[in-house]
Symmetry: C2
Subunit: 502 residues, 2 copies
């Protein structure tokens, strides 16, 4: 067991200190580095309190999504009143959509400064953070993610640490902890290359705030990734081919640009294609999550360096990284989310952003958060931070969902997270729509002809014909959302009778 100068508590003792109605800032950006045993104990405590007829709910702030012991356990215990800035747990999602949990969907780069500015309207009572090491003076070495932990540790009244012995002392040096000043005295974020370090390897808190340490030895609760499919592989190759063509045309420098890639099987397929494509040079990443697929690219040199907020690796892959930590510490840096996603750095470095859409409309607007405009999926996450400031912003998705009954290309997105002003390239397995330098009617043509599924191209062309002449945007106020309504009425977006929705 690691020795610690602070009181060692059981998880239940730690959870027992937390009061109903308090606000907690947890470590965790994906399951990577999420607090585990304290939230699980807190969920048990909430269940007991509820059984005794007493209210018990807390506000939960994190980096992004978390593992099942955090969002999962707390949601199942009905212990979350308020959630920010992102989540991906099915139970919690249902509670948000049922109105049980208040959720504020937030650009990840702005979470930490919103707290510092006092815009949340509540103090942070507790920081609950997983660490790999703790010094007597209040130095805290984080584990597999940074998220917003550095800010939670600094702002919280009190601190609870999950000291995770699974991580070696040599994790020290993997992190680069930096917190900007607030305006008007703010300086630049002095990152000019993904590998630049600007901060400290440890977080430092007033040791008097550290109320206790809970000893653990648990792996991150990362999910198994959905496997690639023929469709996601095709999307990956379209993107790789597109980027190579841009490089040949001189619009991407020959030493390439840093890449950002989202999470999930589409993102994995894109990275796989970039790794394998013979004409893509070796590259760097300036991104928010590294998945298993990047580790072999780092080892082969295809990826020269990766700046990220989280190592969302499977337990086996994590063990491999830990066993070779000296190699990976020279090729990976973990940063806070306000740095990995910072508009200033993303724009300066010229990041190529590659994110996944739920749906794209023919005007080039992207919905990445709400099914049918109403039902939250996960949240906007970092997609807005990267898309708006990218050198080149790419959104991709399969052209259909639900076995073809839903078209991802629609007349009007039912929720808009990224609009026509920021979305530059749309990719489905059918092909690429390059929207740069195109006006709205040209965009509509390109998206329908290059990206929509053939099952939907005729009715989308009909929609364009049905719109009254005149106007800059291809919009019918009565028919714009008709394909969504058709699905809700008939269970299938295909074969729409536009007249039904006039």
């Amino acid at each position: 067991m690691i020795r610690t100068p602070f009181p060692v508590l059981t998880a239940d003792e730690a959870a027992g200190l937390i009061q109903d109605g308090q606000t907690l800032g947890f470590s965790g950006f994906t399951a990577a580095g999420s607090a585990k045993v304290i939230p699980a104990a807190l969920a048990r405590r909430a269940t007991r309190e509820h059984a005794a007829g007493r209210p018990f709910r807390v506000g939960v702030l994190t980096g992004a999504s978390t593992g099942r012991s955090l969002d999962g356990a707390l949601a199942e215990a009905h212990a979350i009143s308020f959630r920010m800035p992102y989540q991906s747990n099915s139970t919690l999602r249902r509670q948000i959509n049922d109105g049980e949990v208040k959720f504020i969907d937030t650009h990840l780069s702005s979470m930490q400064q919103k707290l510092r500015y006092g815009f949340l309207g509540r103090p942070i009572d507790w920081a609950v953070v997983e660490a790999s090491d703790v010094t007597r003076g209040g130095g805290i070495v984080l584990t597999t993610s940074v998220g917003a932990s550095n800010t939670y540790l600094r702002l919280a009244d009190k601190v609870l640490i999950e000291l995770n012995a699974r991580h070696p002392a040599s994790m020290l040096g993997l992190h680069d902890i930096f917190e900007p000043q607030d305006p008007p005295a703010r300086q630049e974020i002095a990152i000019y290359s993904p590998s630049d370090r600007i901060g400290s390897p440890i977080c430092v808190v007033d040791p008097a705030k550290i109320v206790g340490v809970v000893m653990t030895d648990l792996a991150d609760e990362t999910k198994d990734f959905e496997p690639a499919t023929a469709v996601t592989e095709q999307i990956g190759w379209h993107i790789a081919d597109f980027l190579v063509a841009e490089m040949r045309a001189g619009r991407i420098p020959s030493d390439f640009l840093p890449l950002q890639s989202g999470v999930g099987n589409v993102a994995n397929s894109v990275l796989a294609a970039l790794g394998e494509h013979p004409d893509v040079p070796s590259f760097t990443m300036y991104t928010e999550v590294l998945q298993d697929s990047v580790v072999p690219l780092l080892e082969s040199g295809r990826c020269r360096f990766a700046s990220t907020c989280a190592l969302a690796l499977s337990p086996d892959m994590m063990k491999h990284v830990v066993d070779n930590i000296a190699f990976f510490k020279s090729r990976i840096v973990l940063r806070p989310q306000e740095v990995t996603n910072h508009p200033e750095v993303v724009r300066r470095l010229g990041v190529v952003s590659m994110n996944t859409a739920i749906e794209v409309d023919i005007g080039g607007n992207v919905n990445s958060t709400h099914f049918f405009g109403k039902t939250l999926m996960n949240g906007i996450g970092g997609s807005g931070d990267f898309t708006r400031n990218a050198y080149l912003s790419i959104f991709s998705c399969p052209s259909t969902a639900k076995g073809g009954a839903i078209s991802s290309i629609v007349p009007l997105a039912a929720h808009m997270d990224h609009n026509e002003h920021s979305v530059q390239v749309v990719v489905t397995e059918r092909g690429v729509a390059d929207l740069r330098g195109r006006d709205p009617s040209e965009r509509a043509q390109l998206i329908i002809e290059n990206c929509a599924h053939p099952d939907y191209q005729p009715q989308l062309r009909d929609y364009l014909r049905l719109i009254k002449a005149g106007g800059h945007e291809p919009l019918s106020l009565s028919l714009g959302l008709a394909m969504h309504r058709q699905f809700l009425r008939h269970g299938d977006m295909r074969n729409i009778d536009w007249e039904e929705f006039r």
Copy 2:
């Protein structure tokens, strides 16, 4: 007459050099500093060519909107094929909405880099730029705006100058010309206070590119501003009171934060209220346009310094500034639009952004470009650059338009330029909706109760009741755009029968 080493041409001779189908980068950010005599001559030439049965249309790039001799004259002559990034001329607007002119509505901060990156897909044949002075070596002192002129001058094959004798030689030193490197070698934009200078007082081009100089002596064609109304004054005071309350609550520092303010009578009323409010401390501005209202604030010391892209002043006010140029050169700097609007600087300085909406929906999404989602008004301009990166982002508008027949507060914005993730505060003459830390259903309540006009509050409350339970966003796919459809059908959004649109 100013002496110049370059060939002196008449405006008609200069216009005679420009060919059908070419792309022109003009000076002008609002009417301030817009090229005048060459575009007017080009319009006459186009009219003659068309009369002779020959095609004659050009691509027109500018800083933002321009004066009547540029967009007005060229549009009346049907001489524009392609327009970017912003406009505000009634004839051109009609041609864009009729599909005659291709218009790409673009974040102003990204215009110059999109050109440098080659994303427009066409070279710039001519830069046509108004100057107050020219050196033998190709040094060009601009006039009352910078816009994107420095980039057009550098990238264009050939250059035409309108040398405007109305501006004194002492304009030298008013401008701060800086053009960032392209990635991956880009450094920071080293502005830490609105008054920091990072560039040169002049643009420099290869003198061999300067084909000719046309002598002029014309004032900027600035429009008379619409006067303040009781409604706009009320909006101004709501915003001033809100900012004072934020300062008292410690969420704005006591030495305040730099302000950005849009253009028009709402913006003027806001600035007037901030200038007059006894509890607003003296402030600085980091904005894209200065109007007449700021000049007395600079003279009284209420505004300590203003960084801007354009001096959009009336001829009398401009004469006053020129007559006291030493005083104003120490209090005003004119920068390129990619610097005034740069995400990096706006976020670093902690700018408070104050922009005008066409409509705001109850989810907190803002339409600032398209009437009824279809008909272009002007364009997004800089509103996205400032809003997304602001410390505090405020949108305001009168609660109704067309004598009350249109509600600016709607269930669903018919076009979305700024979404719920970026819009923090909504203000109408009725009051303030502070959306920070609020989830979608709380936002809907606040916007309806604090901002909507009483004529519309009952039907907006009905809309909320009619939405099927469940879901994170207060959206009905069938009724979301029904108030817009009601207006198109019945000429009034009031007294809607929701059943008519089911």
